[in-house]
Amino acid sequence: MSERNDISCACGAGAPKADKNGAGLGRILLLQVLAVAAWYVLYLQLLPFANWFAYGLLGLDPASHFGAAVQFFVYDTPKVLMLLLLVVYGVGILRSFVTVNWTRSFLAGKRESAGNVMAALLGVVTPFCSCSAVPLFIGFMTAGIPLGVTFSFLIAAPMVNEIALVLLYGLLGWKIAALYFATGITIAVVAGWVMGRMRLEPYVEDWVREIRAGEAADEPRMTWKARFAYALDSVRDIVGRVWKFVVLGIAAGAAIHGYVPEGQLAVIMGGDAWWSVPLSVLLGIPMYTNAAGVIPVVEALLGKGAALGTTLAFMMSVIALSFPEMVILRKVLKPRLIAAFILVVGCGILLVGYLFNAVI
């Protein structure tokens, strides 16, 4: 998608001010191409470098616990941070297009079913912080977007995010990352659809339904320069905030990788105990952290022998059913609707947990 937009930019946004901005924009684009090329070359060097550093320079034994742990840390830390830089920048550019107001007008008039799917997918890329949940909810309601479609968005937005995807891909491989993406979207779509069928509209607070909001505000169009600046800013903001968790998580991962005997957690969080999935969901709800904080924990749990379904269920309940978000949503939703929300999403997560424990 970004490629197509790159082409349209050359003839569209740049045209009116070609003389003034054209040269600057061309230079920025060239710099970006060079930066991506440098990124790629550097990325290819990470594994040889880690091997050389651990086994050559430090002279560690590849078969030893310590050697394996050091090599893992030296390889994975720059790998995950580099992936984060690239993905957050790319998503930043995408986000400068997919604003909440744009999403609102795009989803207005969409029917359920297809609407649920589109809302869940847009939830992944739309910029949205938990304190925006209330204005966003009002925005969707006043645009006549069905309640179930709104919930598909509200569930997918925190549950499936780019940082979690990069961390899962970097630490646990693409299969688990893809699994997380697919199940997260599925839960958001199905839970939203079920809530739509439950006819819960009377349980939206009365004042919300009485609001007559104006048309979505016309924001001034961003120039391409502004979009790049916005993406760079989100890299600074997001990577600046999460890098500590990433390094800590990988250090923990390296230690587990090298030392902890497998199977320790298998008794409590293994696939055999039927109660382990509901228990991890119940434990996850009151916890509040973001994806960057929970994924190192996930890696540690998996490394110690917890079953994949149980661990995914724990992770999803931590990110998707956080208590503070319920408190924020209480301003616009009556308790029964919040209860229905927790129940439907909780059931979805339970199903995912059992499904993966059964299959893998």
Binding site: T99, V100, N101, R104, P127, F128, C129, C131, S132, V134, P135, L136, I138, G139, F140, T142, W207, I211, R212, A213, G214, E215, A216, A217, D218, E219, P220, A229, Y230, D233, K331
Partner: protein, 76 residues
């Protein structure tokens, strides 16, 4: 000049208010800066994502914290 900073009070909204105040001080303009926390009021402007800045009734930014340079440009 009347400037409204819309936001319920999250860190980004606080940051936006500070940026706007700094920019106004730097530009040396007399402006009336008001923080709007009421969701109903915010929705009336067609704003469904915070922080947002409205200057003399015109929506300047929605859903992200502007830089000081952005604000200085709007003040011109």
């Amino acid at each position: 000049m009347k400037i409204l900073v819309m936001g319920p009070g999250c860190p980004k909204c606080e940051q936006t208010e500070k940026t706007v105040r700094d920019a106004v001080a730097e530009a040396g303009i007399a402006a009336d800066i008001e923080k709007v926390k009421d969701f109903q009021e915010i929705a009336k402007y067609g704003i469904f994502s915070t922080p947002a800045v409205v200057i003399d009734g015109e929506v300047k930014v929605v859903g992200r914290a502007p830089s000081k340079k952005d604000v200085l440009d709007w003040l011109k």
